[in-house]
């Protein structure tokens, strides 16, 4: 009986993870090397990959800075009541609970062309929805808890005594952060960065709603794959998917490495 269960587990694992990967790989090579290169070097492919790249970089940078700051303020703020802290702490998890599509929709409802805020920005010449800023905000919304959730427990665990010790030794907050706090949270932050990159690389729903998926304008790699599949351009879809998958595998390896370091410290 036990053997059957073991076999079944491996079967599910293979069906869910290994076969799709092999399928993507073989699919992208269906028309040989030239077919793959052609699919990937189409103007819309290059543009979509660039958009994804920009989103990943900007979102990761913003999420890292604000994620660390929020984690610091949530854990270290004595002036916040315990109840308020708990409330804010659970608010951080909101994006985990809300479907990304609904997250995207919320952004459209706030910044859409027919809303007050949207019209205000539009008047200033900044387009948010159906443009890059909206896509960045949407991805930021989806990835926001990742960094905060990685850093908060580490900060809680190391406590504030080392920082207090630094202050009695004459160090001000900036120096203390870099010399005392940062070395302790470093690996948590790196793990958070890897998670954020992975999530923003693969984000689909929120971006689709906000971007409108306009080819050569607001199309990302994932929404392009979606469109290629819709158009029965399976080879091209597989090609882009393969590139995304390659990145993901690379990130996975980094994640393992970061996790190990995190445990050491």
């Amino acid at each position: 009986m036990r053997k059957v269960w073991i076999a079944l587990t491996y079967l599910v694992f293979t069906l869910l993870l290994i076969i799709p990967l092999i399928k993507i790989f073989s699919g992208s090579w269906a028309n040989g090397w030239s077919g793959f290169v052609e699919a990937v070097t189409r103007p819309q492919s290059l543009h979509a990959l660039m958009m994804t790249g920009i989103i990943v970089i900007v979102v990761t940078a913003l999420n890292t800075i604000f994620g660390i700051m929020l984690a610091l303020y949530l854990v270290r703020a004595d002036w916040l009541g315990a109840k308020m802290k708990r409330l804010l702490g659970s608010m951080v998890d909101l994006p985990f609970a809300v479907s990304p599509v609904i997250g995207g929709l919320m952004i459209v409802l706030i910044f859409g062309p027919n809303t007050v805020l949207g019209a205000l920005f539009e008047g200033a010449g900044i387009k948010i929805v159906y443009a890059l800023p909206g896509m960045i905000i949407a991805t930021l919304f989806v990835t926001f808890p990742l960094m905060v959730r990685e850093v908060m427990p580490v900060l809680g665990e190391i406590g504030s005594q080392q920082e207090e010790a630094a202050s009695t030794l004459g160090a001000y907050s900036w120096y203390t952060f870099w010399k005392v706090t940062w070395p302790s949270i470093r690996w948590g932050v790196i793990y958070g960065v890897v998670l954020t990159v992975a999530r923003s690389l693969g984000e689909f729903g929120a971006v689709l709603v906000v971007s409108g998926n306009i080819m050569n304008k607001t199309q990302t790699a994932t929404t392009l794959v979606y469109q290629d599949v819709e158009n029965f351009n399976v080879v091209a879809a597989n090609g882009i998917a393969l590139i995304l998958a390659a990145f993901s595998v690379g990130l996975l390896l980094m994640m393992e490495w970061a996790k190990k370091r995190k445990e050491v410290h």
Partner: protein
């Protein structure tokens, strides 16, 4: 550094951690803040360091108000209960931290750190990390780190709490010596009276956020000003009916008056053994416990139980033996006053009782 604290208060919500505490500390003195856990000692220490803001009251260093100065500007060294060593730094870097902040030159830092390493007996451990050190070594690193920037006041929060009982006594002596050698004004917090009595020049007893008494260990032992101090320092038994003891018949004036009697105030002997038999009360031995270097004897007198010690050289007592109990003095207190009463019959060796 001369320190003065005036009407210091600290409340956390509804809880008054520190209430109206005022004191002065002479330059170079070693002060022990002693009291039960949760009594506000650590809050006082943290306010002196600037890690906590007083709700009201003034803190003065050298006559200058420092309430609004951040900890960075106060010129203090702080040794935390769990040492709070920077765990990703070596012993050397830990000690050098305060000097690097001050942007001293590499040679200056090296010289100062090495002299402190030498002073604290950590030579050879400079390149170890905190997790590679024993508790005692960690404490010494924390001490050296706090001293490195040459503070004028050293604050230590339960410096011996995290150390094995065996090494603790050794470290106490070491710390007292170190502080004397450096000559720095120091305040340490402890809940252990032996520690305070042994290490401190002066003790401040803190209970429920209030300063109960300040004085040298001997003064506090000899003349406790409040019932709390009397019961907290040394060993003691509280007796409700002190007038049942010979020599204290007049001590219990009004109802609710109690007496606190220390084991060392009591002399016992088999009938006839005590010279001032007239001042002694007849009682019996309830229990005897062997305490390593002496016997602890529990006595039954009427319905009172008293505790005292008896040297090993004297004849061994057994439960049930009749004994004469001579109480030399008692600390008498009621709700509004307290005093020390001597055994009256001791003064007049030929009383009417004969």
């Amino acid at each position: 550094m001369h320190i003065e604290v005036r009407n210091l208060n600290k409340s956390f919500g509804d809880f008054n951690a520190v209430q109206n505490v005022s004191f002065e500390i002479e330059k170079g003195h070693l002060i022990g803040l002693l009291g039960p856990s949760g009594g506000g000692k650590t809050s006082i220490l943290r306010m002196l360091a600037g890690l906590e803001t007083p709700s009201s009251g003034d803190i003065l260093f050298h006559g200058k108000r420092v309430n609004d100065l951040p900890p960075q500007e106060r010129g203090i060294g702080f040794v935390f209960q769990n040492y709070a060593l920077f765990k990703h730094m070596t012993v050397y870097d830990n000690i050098a931290f305060g000097l690097k902040v001050k942007k001293q030159s590499k040679e200056q830092i090296r010289e100062r750190v090495m002299s402190l390493v030498e002073l604290t007996g950590l030579k050879g451990f400079e390149h170890r990390y905190a997790h590679q050190l024993s508790g005692g070594q960690r404490q010494r690193v924390a001490f050296a780190r706090a001293l490195a920037p040459e503070p004028q006041l050293l604050l230590l929060d339960e410096p011996f709490a995290a150390i094995d009982a065996k090494i603790r006594t050794e470290l106490r002596t070491w710390l007292k010596e170190m502080i004397e050698r450096v000559g720095i004004t120091s305040i340490f917090v402890t809940h252990d009276q032996d520690e305070a009595i042994e290490v401190a020049d002066e003790i401040m007893i803190i209970n429920k956020g209030r300063l109960e008494q300040k004085g040298s260990p001997w003064e506090i032992y000899k003349n406790p000003e409040t019932p709390f101090v009397a019961s907290f320092i040394g060993e003691s038994t509280i007796v409700e009916q002190v007038d049942k003891l010979k020599g204290f018949e007049e001590a219990a004036g009004e109802p609710g008056t109690k007496a606190l009697i220390r084991p060392e105030y009591i002399e016992i002997g088999k009938p006839g053994e005590i010279k001032l038999a007239s001042a002694a009360t007849r009682g019996s031995v309830k229990h005897v416990h062997f305490r390593g270097s002496e016997w602890m004897v529990e006595l039954d007198i009427g319905n009172m139980v008293l505790i005292t010690y008896r040297p090993l050289e004297k004849e061994v007592l057994h439960p049930g033996d009749a004994v004469d109990v001579l109480v030399h003095r008692a600390y008498i207190f009621n709700d509004h006053e307290s005093w020390i009463a001597e055994n009256r019959l001791k003064v007049d060796p030929m009383p009417l009782y004969i």
